[in-house]
Structures are given as structure tokens and as C-alpha cells.
Subunit: 453 residues, 2 copies
């Protein structure tokens, strides 16, 4: 990963040479770069410049670069492409990447592209592109090798040699029966180690983990991670193998899901685009809903305050501690929610752990509240005397405990209702804790400070 | 990944059979399970029961299961192990996993273990265990194959066949010169495709990406993800290959780093343990620091309120809107911070993007503030008349803009100061926005409502 400075230098050098129509230095500059870095470079150039650079590369590298481009750059470059050129690149692309590209093209672009492709490729693209978003089918590739069970190791190697140039991922081949039902798998490494005459079913592993094509992509990715797999086979309803999900795509899914949860906990809706290039109206729409909702949520705090207006009028100094006390309950609650949202997402904690977690949270929150009460009661004495200090300290312990228990339990409740635990965002927990804080504070204050209150 | 119910059923069945000292059904039950799932099962059993189960399995599976166990279970089982048994398992474990295990053992346990191992293994463990935490060295493995440049493809395959049983990861072999300096790499797949007489340096790729042994593990993991690699070679200061980081370990690192950032944004310190098993005192320590710090931060809000006590005393109804207005600024700021913290962590956004992000944030926040002002001013009219409504609406627009700009900029500032952007937690941003909110609200109120104020 070149740092920003060297990336800038490369981009400037390439641009300068392109403007002088001097392609030799560009060729030298881009020849050594990784396709992923070339994609970043192309994203910064105008489409016609990008094509000038792309055409300096062999077609398999062009295909790789195309696979690394973001959605916007892909469709932009596709729009500016000569048809046969684009068809050649698409033919050379990985099966899953070209299906993704196909899904991003307009109907007109698709119609322009498809006639340039061979029949087999057209069918492969249409098939892979047809699976619903966020399922195993939508992230799988058809670049895998299968072997029949009855052949020998030597014959298997011979077949793989014949197929390998087309298959990106033959470190493992899948053994299937006559109806392509998955019955085993074998590593390339085991094949080259075994005697050529050995039957395949003597060296293959039988217990092959596989997922159904309609399984959720996050579940699939977690399996790949959990079992340290290079690829996980995908089967249809009849257990016939129809694709594999590779480790790199699983990693991307886990990263996306982490980002989505991260945003969700920050009350931001799912962004289909990267943050850097997201437009103003998209960001507005993804942020406004929760903000407005929380305004109305916070009205309950206001109502709590209105209810105790007499107490406030009599002891206006109480307001000094108000932001501090309600924020503390919210902060402790947000911590507890954060811990549980992430632990539920990674599977570290499951629904039935709630009781144990609740007991522990009560003790932790009690200790936290007591510590913060000590900190704040000193200030209470200074600003309002011992009575105010007692009110403030008592409130602190209670709001931290209430906030923490709400924050800790809400993600479990959401999961129980089949909703996303990440909906238990810090601001939502904070808003609930705020209302509780206002009521607890002024109820205690009224009781202790107002005679007969 | 078996669901909770089937996991429970397995665990119960195994326990029941163990209590009856009936090992045959246990053997049948565990024989089909993946080592990762067996590890989960063992973590729930008593150490002596766990050993009974482990010993039903072949030693290479024992080693795999051991690698999947969490730190606590590993050291616990090691403590209850017969020495030669543990030595056999450690010998069969992956190089990186046994180095991690070694790092978790007590000095006494290490001394008991090491004499049972062969000289080469002892040295390998000591070497891998010696690299500082969170560096490439600490996550790399020594299970990789090297080839000299001058041999033929046929000879290379012959060598790999000889070495393969020991090397987990020979889908790619690294080509080195006489001093083990990395000069190329070749995929197993290319070797079986090429003519046996071809020299290795004709089929190898020359531009091998590698990282230095002291590189940060997150940078290493992001490279593996970015370039879709199965493994990334690690070199010493003289460019000699000393290990590789495999895709599965890179994935684990990215997951850990995501969890760490997630927690950090929720003001929780780095947990070395998983959340489910973390103790009360650990959780207390990881949470208390920021909570107490934020108490003192919130005193500034209190001070702001104290400064405007006259305005409040004159218009006590203003307090109704206080939680709502300051929470809104904080919520918008937390959203902006969340977006930037994650984008900086994944590399989507870099330091120099700040200016562009700032301009966009100003527009988005302006629109958000205006929307929320409309929502809140209606309530302002009802509760306090048009003058109060104007004060509340104006404040809303300003606090949302100020909160958003602070939230958006703080992660950049922290990165600029070489601190972790994730320190810009929602509660920190909220606290800053609270102070700004109090001052803005009462300053506007004093100006508009108090004649000559």
C-alpha cells in the first residue's frame, strides 16, 4: 500500500505524461504497480485518460484492475469503452466480479455488452447476477474445479492442468457425484503428494462444510473466518455445488458488516457508497431520521423537567448538575450497549447469556456509579452544601445503574425481537437514560430538599 | 457453525456419557465435528473431562483443536496435561499458534514443556514468541516453503513433495537467493502446469509484496485484504524472508481491530479478553477512566448554566428545551465522528481529505439543523410563544452545525497528532457539543428575551 505521498507523485507523473501524449514513461510507471493500486490511480483520472493507461496493460491485468475499481469508476469507464474492448475485459474478469459489474450497468449498457461475449459467459453472468443481494449466491464465484469421485489422483491432476488456466482457485477441488452433488474435497497439495494411481475417494476429505445459496452473506463470511477456510462451497436446494465463496470476498463482507454496525451504532443508515464519495443529499437522508426521532424522544426529558418546575424554581442551583448527571447515565449506558452490540455481532455472546451479563453489569455499574458519585459529591458540597451533595451522589449511583442496565439489555431485547442489536445506538440509549436521569434527579431532590415535597 | 441448540445438545450428550465413563458414544459424537467446534465444546467441560475427549482424537486433530481454544482454556488444559502428551500436541501445532500458546504459559509451564520438544521446535517457538505484540512478527508463521532460483520446476515439485507434510501453506512457495533474500514467488498451480524442465525463475512472479517484521499488524492485515492475498511474506531488515502472515490470521486481526475501534468509540479501553468472560474488575477498569473524565468535562456545561442563572431564573421554561437542544448537537456530532473514525480506520478517507469533508459537512449539518429546527419550533410556539420558538429554532440550527463540525474534525485532528482517531468517541463529542449548546442557547435567549441582556 503506497502512502499518500507516493500515490500523489505517481498520479501527477502519469497525468503530466498523458497531457504530453507521451505514453512510454506512463508504461514504465504503471508496469510495476499492483492492479489494486492501478485502480486507485484510474479513479482519479478522466475516463479517456484512464482508458489510455488501461490499454498499455495486458488484458488479464486490465481485467484485474477493472475488478478493483469502485462502482462509479466501473460504470463510467464502461460507458466510455469501445464494445469489443469491454467484452474482452469482461471475458477475462473473475466470474463473481463481472456479475457484480453487470448488476451495476444500465439496461442499455448490458444490451451493448452481452452480444460481444461467448454464450457460456453470458449464461454464467446472468446466473450469478440473479441471486438476491446479501446472500451466499450474490458473493460466490463460479471459478472452481470439480472432479468425479471414481478417477485416480493422476487423472485428477491431468484434468486440473487442463482446467487451471480458467480457474482462479484450484488449491482445492470439489469431488461430486453424477448429479454434481458435493461428496468431498481434496487439496491440490494432497494430489501432488499422493501416488498417481490412488483413487480420488481415498485421498479426499468427506466432511465438506457447505452453505445453501440463499444463506445470509454475513453467516457465510463468519463461517469462512471461524473455520479458517480458503473457500466455502455453495450448494443449491438439492446439495449440488453451484459456486464457492472465497476468503477474500468473505473478508470484504466482514469489513462491510463491521462498518454497517459501526454506522448503525452511530445512528447512521446503511450507506451503499463509500463515505468519501457520498453526496450531501445521501448523507442527509441517512442521518436525519434518527436525529428527528431523538428530538421527540428528548421531549420526554423536557416533560420531566416541566413536571418538577417548582423544585427547580426553588433550587435553581440544581440545574448546574443536570447536564452532568444525565450525561453520566447516558455515557455508562452507551458503554454497556457498545460492548453487547459488538459481542452479539461477532457471536461471542448469545441470547441465553443475558441473565449472566445482567448480574455482572449490575455489579460493574454499581462500582462505576459509586466512583463517579465520589467525584461529583465533592463539587456538590462546594456549590450547594451537604444536602445538595447527598442528592447529587445518590442520583449519580442510580442513573449510572439504570443507564447501564438499559444499555446492556436493549441489544438483547432487539435480537430477541429479530431486530438488529446495533439499533441500540449510543444516542438512543442516551436519550432513554436522559429521561430516567431527569426523573430520578428531581424526584430525589424534591424528597430531600422540599419539606413535605 | 452449529446453532446454540445443537451445541447445547452435543455438550449435554458428551457430559452424560463421560459421567457414565462410556467413551464409545463420545467418540462417535466428536469424530464428525470440526476442530473449531470441538474447541468450543472443550471450553465448557472440566479440564479432566476435556482431556478424556481430546485423547479420543488423532494427535494432529488434537493440535488443531488446541489452536482454536481460547487463552484461558489453553493454559488450563496445559496445566492438567501429562508432559509428553502436551509436547506431542505442541509439536503438531501450527508454528504461529504454538508460539502464541508459549507466550501465554507461566515460566514454570514453559520449563516443563520445552525439554519434551526437539531442538528445532524449541528454537522456532522461542524465535516466533520473541516478536513484540501487534507487529507482523507476532502474527506470522514459519510454516512456508522456500525454493532456490536456479532449480527446475520438476525439482521444485520434488522438494515441495518432500516438505509438504510439514508445511501447511504451500499453495505458494517463495523463491530466495543464497542468503534467503526474497526474489520471487510461485504458485503451486503454476508449477503443476509448467514443463518440468523449465527453470523456476522463468515461471516465478518477481514483484513480490512483502512487509518488514516490525510493521504494525493492522497495516499488514489491510495489505492482505487490499491485495486479496492468501499470504504475505515477512522479511527482516536485510530483506531475508523469515515468515508469512496468512489470510486467516489477517482476517482475525481486522476483526480484532474493528472490535477495538468499536469499543474505543464507546469509551471502553482495550480488552485483552473476550467480553463474555471478562471479569467485573477488568470491565470496571476499562470503563471508569472515561466516565470520570467526562464528569469533569460536563462541569463546563454546568458552569455555562451557572453563568446564565439570571436568564434561567427569569425564564424557567427555557430549561424544558435544554436536554433536547444539547442532545441534538451531540447526536449530530456523534454521527459525524462515527463516519470519519471508521473511514479513517479503513483508509477510505485520508488526512488531506479534511477540507473537502468539512465543506460537505457544513452543508449536510445545515440541512439537518434546519429540519430539526422546524420540528422543535412548533413545540416552542405551543409551550412558550413565538419568541421562545425563535430562540429554540436558531439554537437548534447552530448547535447541530457546531456539533457536526466538531465531531467531523476531531478524528482528523487526533490522526494529525498521531493519536487514534477512535478516541473521538460519541460521549467525548457529545460532551463538547453540550458545552457549546448551553452557551449558544442561553446567549441567544439572553439576547432576544432579556431587554438589554
Amino acid at each position: 500500500m503506497p502512502d499518500d505521498a507516493s500515490r500523489d507523485a505517481l498520479s501527477t507523473a502519469v497525468r503530466t505524461s498523458l497531457e504530453r501524449s507521451d505514453l512510454d514513461p506512463v508504461h514504465a510507471l504503471v508496469g510495476e504497480e499492483h492492479p489494486a493500486d492501478l485502480a486507485l490511480l484510474l479513479e482519479e483520472l478522466e475516463p479517456d485518460q484512464a482508458w489510455q493507461v488501461l490499454l498499455l496493460l495486458p488484458v488479464d491485468i486490465q481485467a484485474e484492475v477493472f475488478g478493483y475499481l469502485d462502482a462509479e469508476a466501473q460504470t463510467e469507464l464502461a460507458r466510455h469503452a469501445k464494445r469489443p474492448r469491454l467484452a474482452a475485459i469482461v471475458t477475462a474478469m473473475n466470474a463473481d466480479e463481472r456479475a457484480d459489474l453487470y448488476n451495476k450497468l444500465t439496461e442499455a449498457q448490458r444490451e451493448a455488452l452481452m452480444p460481444g461475449l461467448a454464450q457460456a459467459e453470458r449464461e454464467d453472468i446472468r446466473r450469478l447476477a440473479s441471486y438476491p443481494k446479501d446472500t451466499a449466491g450474490s458473493i460466490m464465484t463460479s471459478d472452481y474445479a470439480t472432479l468425479p469421485a471414481e478417477i485416480s489422483v493422476g487423472e485428477a491432476l491431468h484434468r486440473l492442468r487442463r482446467e487451471a488456466p480458467d480457474k482462479e482457485t484450484i488449491y482445492r477441488a470439489y469431488v461430486v457425484d453424477d448429479e454434481r452433488r458435493l461428496i468431498g474435497s481434496v487439496r491440490l497439495q494432497e494430489l501432488i503428494l499422493a501416488e498417481p494411481a490412488t483413487p480420488i475417494d481415498r485421498v479426499m476429505e468427506r466432511n465438506v462444510l457447505a452453505v445453501k445459496v440463499d444463506e445470509d452473506q454475513e453467516v457465510v463470511a463468519r463461517k469462512v473466518a471461524r473455520y479458517d477456510m480458503l473457500a466455502l462451497p455453495v450448494v443449491d436446494a438439492d446439495d449440488r455445488i453451484i459456486g464457492i465463496v472465497t476468503h477474500d470476498d468473505a473478508m470484504d463482507v466482514l469489513q462491510e458488516e463491521a462498518t454497517e454496525d459501526f454506522h448503525k451504532v452511530g445512528t447512521i443508515g446503511k450507506l451503499e457508497q463509500n463515505v468519501r464519495d457520498a453526496g450531501i443529499s445521501l448523507l442527509y437522508r441517512k442521518r436525519v431520521a434518527w436525529l428527528v426521532l431523538l428530538v421527540f424522544g428528548n421531549l420526554f426529558s423536557g416533560a420531566g423537567i416541566a413536571f418538577y418546575e417548582d423544585t427547580i424554581a426553588a433550587f435553581v442551583g440544581l440545574v448546574f448538575f443536570l447536564p452532568l448527571l444525565i450525561a453520566s447515565g447516558g455515557n455508562a449506558g452507551a458503554q454497556a450497549a457498545t460492548l453487547m452490540v459488538r459481542a452479539l455481532a461477532t457471536g461471542e455472546v448469545v441470547l441465553r447469556d443475558w441473565g449472566r451479563m445482567l448480574g455482572r453489569e449490575l455489579l460493574v455499574a454499581g462500582a462505576l456509579g459509586a466512583t463517579m458519585a465520589v467525584a461529583v459529591s465533592a463539587i456538590g458540597v462546594v456549590r450547594g452544601g451537604p444536602e445538595i451533595a447527598v442528592v447529587v451522589a445518590l442520583t449519580m449511583v442510580l442513573v449510572v445503574i439504570v443507564g447501564s442496565l438499559v444499555g446492556m439489555s436493549l441489544p438483547f431485547l432487539l435480537r430477541r425481537l429479530n431486530m438488529d442489536p446495533a439499533t441500540a445506538s449510543a444516542p438512543l440509549v442516551t436519550s432513554i437514560a436522559d429521561v430516567a436521569g431527569v426523573v430520578i434527579y428531581f424526584a430525589i431532590a424534591t424528597r430531600i430538599l422540599l419539606p413535605g415535597g
